[in-house]
């Protein structure tokens, strides 16, 4: 017969971890997406030559393992006496990491809008901003959405690495319980199920939006 030492208060502890995972993910994806849109537009507008410095920095954030970025950033903020809390440091690093990927997604989305369509918009007297707002943004969003959903889900799982800075998020909370209760399989099963419960609505939202927009195409 199945029995476990896991109590309701342990589950509440896991839920607190999940809340931390959600908080780090939400802040990072929100800030990273805003930055990604900004950088993506800059990359398209400035052209490959002038955006080279930006591209280089973003390539660094995409190539260096996230764990190394987190540890280095934490050391840097401590040396520079910035006094950042682990949560702040984690969000800053994850935001830039998200922004680096999001920039490419946004750039791809904007490039997918045919130049002739944009020319038609401008020929009607629309300004650059109006063209961006009413033509490019909606069309690019449709193209970019699946990749962006993938990025968001990826960042949520990658956010587990912030446990190295001492944040007790979902995975760290599970580890603590595993150490104490010595029931690794059962606890990790619950942990995985919670990750799934958080991810599933995001993935479904993507599917829903794609479906809603598809009759137009």
């Amino acid at each position: 017969m199945f029995s476990t030492a896991l109590t309701w208060s342990d589950l509440a502890f896991l839920a607190q971890g999940a809340a931390m995972t959600l908080a780090v993910t939400a802040v990072s994806v929100a800030a990273g997406t805003l930055l990604g849109i900004l950088f993506g537009v800059i990359r398209v507008q400035a052209g490959p030559y002038w955006s080279m410095p930006l591209t280089f920095v973003l390539d660094v954030f995409r190539s260096v393992p996230l764990l190394i970025q987190l540890v280095l950033a934490n050391a840097f903020q401590s040396i520079a006496k910035l006094g950042w809390a682990p949560f702040t440091t984690s969000c800053v690093v994850l935001s830039l990491y998200t922004a680096a990927y999001c920039t490419e997604i946004v750039r791809g989305g904007i490039s997918s809008v045919p130049a002739t369509t944009r020319r038609a918009a401008r020929s009607l007297g629309m300004t650059w901003w109006q063209d961006m707002r009413y033509i490019v943004a909606p069309l690019a969003t449709r193209v970019s959405l699946p990749s962006w959903i993938g990025l968001t889900l990826g960042v949520m799982k990658d956010s587990a690495l912030v446990l190295w800075l001492g944040l007790i998020e979902l995975l760290r909370a599970s580890q603590i319980l595993v150490t104490r209760l010595q029931e690794p399989l059962f606890i990790l099963l619950i942990c995985g199920a919670i990750y799934f419960l958080i991810s599933f609505p995001i993935a479904r939202l993507g599917g829903y939006l794609e479906k809603r927009w598809s009759p137009n195409d």
């Binding site: 045919p114 002739t116 369509t117 020319r119 038609a120 918009a121 401008r122 020929s123 009607l124 007297g125 629309m126 300004t127 109006q130 009413y134 033509i135 909606p138 069309l139 449709r142 927009w213 009759p215 137009n216 195409d217």
Partner: protein, 240 residues
């Protein structure tokens, strides 16, 4: 009035317009014919400032198109242009496609823009298609929608850049009929076209472009009946 004076334009080392002079008066219909690469489409995109020019001047109602002080977005709202590719906005319905620019550029109310859009769409024969998305329509219908979209800005001039070239042959007629209707209503038009019969019917004057030069310009009877330029004679012999 559109005044084009000695306009020159190069793409890299290739000079596509080698000093074009042309004046189009209010109410006039001028068609431009010529082989591919003769510069005729480039001239249209220069007239509404989508392309910069290297020398010369283009004035529309006295406003110099390429002057730094010119508000191009304002100018463009009185010069409609329709391209070979109809360039529908695929995320908007037919009605929304036509309403967008009047609302955002001219600042019209939703009601006024909708009235105008319905009127223009009905005019080009798309009154039944208001809530349809463009990709559900034929090329000819999308092209007529593009014409209605340009007309909804109440332009004083219309430029047509080979608007039937990308269409299936059986769809060409409906679009040309729309252009004939506009011409008969007194719209000032410059049409770049490969449709000789159409050019002969609707034009007040026909211009023949060859290698960046306007080789001949005359009323259609004269240009088609007694072409003087040897290149034009060759061109007409090849297209007939």
């Amino acid at each position: 009035m559109i005044e084009i004076e000695n306009v020159r334009k190069s793409f890299g080392t290739l000079e596509v317009l080698k000093g074009i002079d042309l004046t189009v008066k209010k109410g006039e219909v001028v068609t431009v014919i010529g082989g591919s690469g003769s510069g005729k489409s480039t001239l249209l995109t220069c007239i509404n400032g989508l392309e910069p020019i290297d020398a010369g001047r283009i004035k529309v109602d006295g406003t110099e198109v390429h002057a730094k002080s010119t508000d191009l977005n304002k100018l463009r709202s009185k010069i409609g242009i329709v391209f070979q590719q109809w360039n529908a906005f695929p995320h908007l319905t037919v009605l929304e496609n036509v309403m967008l620019a009047p609302r955002k550029v001219l600042g019209q109310s939703k009601q006024a823009a909708e009235e105008m859009a319905v009127k223009q769409l009905t005019h080009v024969g798309l009154g039944e298609k208001l809530s349809v998305y463009p990709n559900r329509m034929s090329g000819g219908q999308q092209q007529r929608m593009a014409i209605a979209r340009a007309l909804a800005m109440s332009p004083e001039y219309m430029l047509f850049d080979e608007v039937t070239s990308a269409l299936d042959p059986q769809l060409v007629g409906e679009v040309l009929d729309t252009l004939r209707m506009l011409a008969s209503e007194g719209m000032t038009m410059i049409c770049v076209t490969h449709e000789m019969k159409f050019a002969r019917e609707v034009s007040d004057r026909v211009a023949f472009f060859h290698k960046g030069v306007m080789a001949e310009i005359a009323p259609p009877e004269a240009l088609f009946g007694a072409p003087k330029d040897p290149e034009l004679q060759k061109f007409l012999a090849a297209t007939h």
